[in-house]
Symmetry: C2
Subunit: 428 residues, 2 copies
């Protein structure tokens, strides 16, 4: 097949007619599929039902050190859960506070705390005229929604295969004291699946922020979510910050939302002692502490990092074929056409697709009309505004393989059709 | 025994010597007891261990309407949990959002939301020069800690057996637009165990706040926590507000923290549709939703209000003798001495003790020296400042009956000793 750009007007019109017929056929099938969110599939969840048997009436509900997990107390979590989540992201248990089921909630509350109380003695951000965050794009829509809700100005930073464009990051962070934060998904980034290179992590650690209350929001959501035996390796940012004297500059987040049950996991923030002390002094007024029985459940279910790794291999066995199924269709149907490119991640939950400029909305809309819901076009950019209207996030984990094949067939058809329409409109 | 005030100096000195000897003996026992917090006892928790068997690998993890409780989704909670918590406080399920394990956390976040985003379109409280809350005293220390952390000015409102002094409440709320809220524990108030009278509830509902964004923070923590067959009855404030057109004026809170396991319960806010819609529109950025499996556990464990009531009777059977043990010692040892008074609640988690003016700190300190920890004197007042230094909160639920007898014996001894010292110092 020739690249679409090389087709003349007549060829394009013929192609359009053919594609439209195929599209009408697809529409008639009445599909109802969802590739919009990074949700675990039922098969993944069914596989780990024994998680629910870990603590029963016959169990000891006390930790090794004797804490009764049923009762009040222990603001920062039980020791075992600190160790488990610390191991998961490669930091010491002493740098961890364990929370409830949502790292998103921790991130939100962390920004809210900065807004209301400042950072280690700085002016509360809500008292400042202007607060800015850097947003590597494409990125995670829920990050951007948080900063948007707080009225924080968001600045796009282009992503590369090595992570955010660090020249730009340094320019902003080191010179503009209104820049108070940056959203990062450093391993298997959402949506591209890129892992920050060692150099990128080192350059982050070596930042010299103009604002003393600048923080890196390091959302390490996919630290152990490898699809293949050989996964990407991410440098530990705290170890690097230790060397540069920047240990207070990072808030790291993680959770078991995509390890155990998405709605019933545990989550954590990792940070320096000064940051943790400050956070705890505020948190102690907010809550008496998270659900410790669920922490104990996680601790006992996995025991340690080996347990976690073995478990994630079972997940990978379910997820990998789904990624491969999508990638196979993309390659087979779109390879060489010059109307789209896509990432090929070794882990995480997403594939990122780049259409021709100005086609993403049309593709998503066409898919929706035919019964396949994708993440909204633009969602991967702050304010839902993708300047090139080209990025689409594909979330292959939730549908069954059969559904996925159908959905991806429809997707590539919509890409073709939107691209032809675009080329024809350009030619006018 | 004569009232202490009627003793002459010589009699007081003789008494002091005798009490000091007894106190030294008590100290020598090396007690280590805690009557400081409203914690459930181990016996209560052991009684409900079958709660942990409700959902296992063999269980259906879907709600009746088919929601998979393991996965993401359902920001405001599952239907069954809304019904259960709604029934618990007597409001419709449609007025409920279900949260995680801590109603304190909901209250904190609710104030934080008002600070950051205002109330139904009002100016965010953090942008105002002055925000004030009314605080019925004595009251719940953790309420006061929240408003203190947000820099909200707290105004003491004396409690009566019928609830807060409503003349004062009306005066402030109806005339001062800086007054944005009031903390209430309307049933079995913390620490006195008073239940607001029908008239008090009606007067609350009939308030005409100077500030459109004034809210009543109605912490209905002990709605089903009766100690006796016949419990206090609290009027439903929403029904009253419906009549007065004030339905948006109330945020009500509740939880199962003292129903199932304190650290692993579920909690809720109840509010009008306008309030709930506004809260949800902000919350949807904060989290994907609370732990639904734990909601399902609660729904299945109790089934309905009858299940809840039967369960709370078992709790009462454990707690009632503890309250009675404390009250018996207080009456036997302090009755007629004129050096203290105390409440006699029909439910809740606390007994409130009033010493002679200026003695509370000394009593708590003496208890501590001899190994019994009480809630800090002053804790029941904003800024930890009890103007009369007379209120002490007694929390009888956690210790065993045997420990409680020992602790209360020490307590009355310390009351006597501190009172004698006070009378002698006055006489000088």
């Amino acid at each position: 097949m020739k690249a679409y750009r090389e087709l003349n007007r007549e060829e394009l019109l013929t192609l359009k007619e053919k594609l439209e017929k195929e599209y009408e056929k697809e529409k008639a099938k009445g599909l109802k599929l969802d590739m919009s969110r990074g949700k675990a599939s039922v098969a993944q969840l069914d596989m780990e039902m024994d998680f629910l048997d870990v603590i029963t009436s016959k169990s000891d509900v006390r930790t090794r050190s004797g804490v009764d997990c049923r009762n009040y107390g222990l603001l920062d979590g039980i020791e075992g859960a600190k160790c488990l989540l610390g191991d998961m992201i490669g930091v010491s248990k002493d740098m961890i506070i364990v929370f409830g089921n949502s790292s998103l909630n921790i991130m939100y509350d962390t920004v809210a705390r900065c807004m209301l109380f400042g950072v280690l003695g700085s002016t509360p951000w809500c008292k400042l005229d202007k607060v800015k965050f850097l947003c590597p794009v494409p990125g995670y829509d829920r990050h951007f929604a948080i900063t948007e809700q707080f009225g924080i100005e968001m600045i796009n930073i282009p992503m590369t295969e090595d992570g955010p464009d660090m020249d730009l990051v340094e320019k902003y962070v080191n010179n503009d004291s209104a820049v108070k934060g940056i959203w990062c998904v450093p391993k298997y980034s959402n949506p591209q699946g890129y892992t920050y290179s060692d150099e990128t992590v080192k350059r982050f650690a070596a930042l010299k922020p103009a604002a003393a209350d600048f923080r890196i929001f390091w959302d390490n959501a996919y630290s152990i979510h490898d699809l293949y035996e050989e996964g990407d390796e991410l440098l530990d940012i705290f170890a690097e910050c230790e060397k540069t004297g920047n240990i207070d500059m990072v808030y790291e987040f993680c959770s078991t939302s995509k390890v155990t049950f998405p709605g019933s996991g545990i989550s954590a923030i990792a940070a320096s002692k000064a940051n943790l002390d400050s956070i705890k002094s505020i948190m102690t007024i907010q809550t008496i502490g998270p659900d410790k029985l669920n922490q104990l459940r996680h601790t006992r279910y996995f025991e340690d990092m080996n347990g976690l790794k073995a478990h994630m291999k079972k997940h990978a066995a379910i997820i990998r074929p789904k990624f491969e199924a999508v990638l196979e269709v993309l390659e087979r149907e779109l390879g060489g056409l010059g109307i789209g490119s896509w990432t090929n991640p070794k882990g995480g939950y997403f594939i990122s697709f780049e259409s021709m400029e100005g086609c993403a909305k049309a593709i998503v809309e066409k898919c929706k009309e035919a019964g396949v819901v994708l993440t909204g076009a633009g969602a991967t950019y702050p304010y839902k505004k993708d300047p090139a209207d080209s990025n689409i996030r594909i979330a292959p984990t939730f549908p069954s393989e059969e559904e996925l094949a159908k959905a991806t067939d429809l997707f590539v058809l919509c890409v073709k059709l939107a691209s032809v329409e675009k080329l024809l409109s350009e030619a006018v």
